[in-house]
């Protein structure tokens, strides 16, 4: 078991470290990563999500249960994010950041680990789809409202976000049976094939240790919520819904994953504490590297 976990996790976190090393060593400075990040957000991640969702078998036994547990997990984490912010008396913008980080988990890291543990045909779409829609929805709405932009601005931002568009298009393609058209899907599959590695490398390059200075309470709350409370809740939900083995581990991976890197893009768009959000993402990457293997092992044992 421990060898399986180590061999799955080590290369994935090594890629994040490699991305950081390439940026920190000056081999590829911060300015050059702008294009990679744009490609990730506008092309690679949407292509990955579209292919994953378009090809998913949502009618399979267990898919509805996984989706239900994932939905409930996201809703609980949104509520806990708000509760923690209230407890710590955070300002509106800080609250938006904490809720976003608590609710929007890193789906690429989750799927990269799931595929290394369970093979390329892992059925992750049922967990990913509600997680992305609810997490991104909460993040964008929170940032928009805290900056006084209003619900209309939030809806406009969501309507033109490539990640959310890809999710909706993936569902439409799935329903319409477009997954059976290889001419449409194969170029996107080839594009999506590279997405995981590039996104993980960019995640590493985006680690900002300088952002860890100051506002320790908000940072610690984000790490606690993302790396300890969330995996416990997702694992509890898995057990409560009667899920075991691979399905329980999938939920545990989602629950314990670090905050999604795209959260920073949302925060920057609304000029809503991007520095704090960068610090929260950086810290949750570090804490999840410690807790996620343990949570996954636990999920596979119960």
């Amino acid at each position: 078991m421990s060898m399986l976990i180590a061999s799955a996790f080590a290369p994935v976190f090594a890629m994040i470290a490699l991305g950081w090393g390439v940026r920190a060593s000056g081999l590829m400075g911060r300015d050059l990563w702008g294009g990679v990040n744009a490609l990730n957000h506008r092309v690679l991640l949407p292509a990955f999500l579209f292919v994953l969702i378009a090809r998913a078998e949502f009618g399979e036994a267990g898919a509805a249960t996984l989706a239900g547990a994932s939905t409930l997990g996201s809703l609980i984490m949104i509520a806990l994010g708000f509760a923690a912010a209230r407890l710590l008396r955070l300002k509106a913008a800080e609250t938006a950041g904490l809720v976003a980080v608590a609710a929007l988990w890193n789906l690429v890291l989750t799927m990269a680990l799931a595929q290394r543990l369970f093979g390329p045909d892992t059925a992750g779409a049922a967990v990913v789809l509600p997680g992305v829609l609810l997490g991104a929805g909460a993040a964008v709405a929170g940032f928009a409202i805290s900056q006084g932009a209003g619900p209309q601005a939030a809806l406009m931002r969501m309507a033109r976000d490539p990640v959310l568009i890809a999710c909706v298009a993936g569902v439409a393609a799935n329903v319409a049976g477009l997954a059976r058209l290889p001419a449409l899907l194969t170029p996107l599959e080839l594009t999506a094939a590279g997405s995981m590695a590039v996104i993980l490398l960019a995640m590493g390059a985006g680690l900002d240790f300088a952002a860890l200075k100051g506002r320790l309470r908000a940072l610690a709350a984000a790490a606690l919520l993302r790396s300890l409370i969330s995996p416990a809740i997702y694992l509890g939900l898995a057990l409560g819904f009667g899920l075991r083995g691979e399905e329980a581990a999938l939920l545990a991976l989602a629950g314990g994953a670090p905050a999604a890197a795209v959260t920073y893009a949302f925060a920057a768009d609304f000029k809503c504490e991007p520095g704090l959000v960068a610090g929260m993402i950086t810290l949750t990457v570090l804490t999840s590297a410690l807790t996620l293997p343990l949570v996954t092992a636990l999920a596979l044992m119960v």
């Binding site: 061999s7 080590a10 290369p11 994935v12 090594a14 890629m15 490699l18 390439v22 081999l27 590829m28 300015d31 050059l32 990563w33 702008g34 294009g35 990679v36 744009a38 490609l39 506008r42 092309v43 690679l44 990269a112 001419a183 194969t186 170029p187 996107l188 599959e189 080839l190 594009t191 999506a192 094939a193 590279g194 997405s195 995981m196 590695a197 590039v198 490398l201």
Partner: protein
């Protein structure tokens, strides 16, 4: 639909996607430098290392294949040089030379596994090690003589760049791992394989983003000649050399495909830096990239692949 044509469709689709992304400004022109840098410095070396380190070369005609493929580029250099008396414009001639000699190995790498199987992919990856330095030295020599420069080219800088070429280093590290039997599985191998998986989609997108259709109007006569050199003369030369050295089967198909690959985007960069005709080079890369989707299946079919 044969295997090569089936493999070409997604490759062409991703290249076109790259062009659409740049043209539509969804990923603006100035952002592609970083994407290209990441592909070239990290992803492609990891892919070459991973492919070569884990390849099984027993039973493959790697020796005759490598001799034929290396000689193929030398022959194309000689053929290109034969046109010098007809082209008095030095920078334009350097672009004809680069057009005849340089190849876009990444298109072939993307096609090799689905079209030619694991042994085809292993052979395609091997081509980089001897040919990247050879082609670069030949092109730099020609550009330094006939390129337009106000100051003499900085040979030391060019030599350093060739010696530290990440593609060559990736190939050599892969060969060392293959021969010594280390890093063929485990943590390093897994990480390199994961990183390498991203190489081809990204490099294909950057090829698409670099297409410049307006450059197709540059020097039509020389452009036509350079395209003919790349997509007609080169595959014929590689095919003939393959037969002469007893290369057959999948290896012969890969050899001919090497000859029929489109021009390389690196030729545009070198032409810009060393006084070549960069616009002619951009036109050549664009034309050969589009026409290669007809030329490659044709030549591989001719070779019996």
């Amino acid at each position: 639909m044969n295997a090569l044509t089936a493999a070409l469709i997604p490759v062409f689709g991703v290249i076109m996607l790259g062009w659409v992304l740049r043209r539509s400004n969804l990923v603006r022109a100035e952002l592609w430098g970083g994407i290209n840098r990441l592909s070239y410095q990290a992803l492609l070396p990891a892919l070459l290392f991973s492919t070569i380190a884990t390849a099984d070369y027993d039973g493959l005609p790697a020796g005759p294949f490598l001799i034929a493929v290396t000689l193929g580029f030398v022959v194309m250099a000689i053929v290109s040089m034969a046109f010098k008396p007809l082209i008095h414009d030095g920078p334009a001639f350097t672009s004809l030379f680069q057009g005849g000699v340089r190849w876009n190995g990444f298109v072939l790498l993307a096609l090799a596994a689905p079209a030619f199987g694991a042994e085809g992919a292993a052979l395609a990856a091997l081509v980089f090690a001897p040919t990247v330095p050879l082609i670069n030295v030949m092109c730099v020599a020609v550009l330094s003589i006939w390129g337009a420069h106000d100051e003499p080219p900085d040979f030391a800088r060019v030599a350093r760049r060739i010696a530290a070429n990440p593609l060559i280093l990736g190939c050599l590290a892969g060969l060392a791992a293959n021969v010594s039997g280390v890093f063929q599985d485990g943590f390093i191998a897994d990480t390199a394989a994961l990183v390498g998986r991203a190489a081809l989609p990204l490099i294909l997108l950057t090829i698409g983003a670099g297409l410049d259709f307006s450059a197709l109007r540059a020097r039509p006569g020389i452009l036509t000649l350079a395209v003919a050199l790349k997509l007609i003369a080169a595959p014929l030369a590689f095919y003939a050399l393959g037969l002469a050295f007893g290369v057959e089967g999948v290896a012969l198909a890969v050899l001919v495909a090497v000859g029929a690959t489109p021009g390389a985007a690196a030729s545009y960069v070198l032409a810009s830096e060393m006084g070549g005709d960069a616009r002619l080079m951009a036109g050549h890369v664009t034309a050969t990239t589009l026409l290669a989707f007809i030329a490659m299946p044709f030549w591989v079919w001719m070779a019996g692949g």
